[in-house]
């Protein structure tokens, strides 16, 4: 499926509306990554650009840009490896399929099934996040407690000091 649009040729055009097509440098700038990273992610099958131009130039849509930030969060905040992220996203992509099914007027039962799958994937992710949150809170509380003990000791010492200076 090759469609001419202006003077440029796209290998794939699913929607004819006015969605902006981003070049790789654009996406890199707004997400704070490098083009290399985006190509690497594509290399390992983590992020497929919306389309390749005949010249090979990648074109991204807003959906991919959002996916990029999502991936970053999974990476930085949850400490997942790119492989684990692939798993997570594979589950999540069910949602995308559901949306496409909606566009395609798919039968309601099928759409419901897809939705249920997406919901389950989402639930698992939220569980993971909550688990991590709990562990970090625990760790923080330990640190805070240590701080409290140190402050108590500090007061003690200061009292000693005052007593000593009084005589």
């Amino acid at each position: 499926m090759t469609v001419a649009r202006g003077s440029e040729t796209l290998d794939r055009v699913d929607d004819p509306d006015e969605e902006p097509r981003l070049r790789i440098g654009e996406v890199a700038r707004v997400t704070g990554l490098t083009a290399r990273t985006l190509r690497y992610w594509e290399e390992i099958g983590l992020l497929k650009p919306f389309a390749h131009r005949g010249s090979g130039e990648r074109l991204y849509s807003v959906a991919e840009r959002e996916r990029v930030t999502h991936i970053r969060e999974l990476q930085d905040l949850l400490g997942l490896t790119l492989a684990e992220i692939q798993d997570v996203l594979a589950s999540e992509d069910t949602l995308e399929r559901a949306r496409r099914a909606a566009r395609a007027d798919a039968p309601t039962p099928k759409r419901l099934r897809l939705l249920a799958d997406a919901l389950e994937a989402n639930g698992r992710l939220v569980d993971r996040i909550n688990e991590r949150l709990a562990r970090i809170k625990e760790f923080r509380d330990e640190c805070v407690e240590r701080g409290d003990r140190m402050r108590a000791r500090q007061l003690e010492l200061e009292a000693d000091q005052r007593r000593a200076s009084r005589r």
Copy 2:
């Protein structure tokens, strides 16, 4: 300073009490790491074993075993690199020095200064943790919200289905 104790020879003995001396395999097992990792951490100056026997065998004390789990938490929960962890621990070690100063009957002002330093380092760490917690919570809320939207859609579809089956 070499002291004979039973038939074994220690390069360094600071406390004569009954603190158990752990061998590397022991520490590895209880912390879930490998001996290789512990040696690596020593190599980069992250974790000094309490003592080396004449043969080169490492002996750890409880303090080091705790330090190991602490490092793991900084690594896994906060996603710090070993270099960053070194920084954090360098600050935190002030506390250890403070304790030693206490043992050595150091002057109170000095002990207070050490305590203040340790407190500040601790405060910075807690801040970091809180910041991270906030970001993760934000991320979780986004996910939860998405889930809510999906559930709403689900109800809608189910209603459609019921309407359709009624006629």
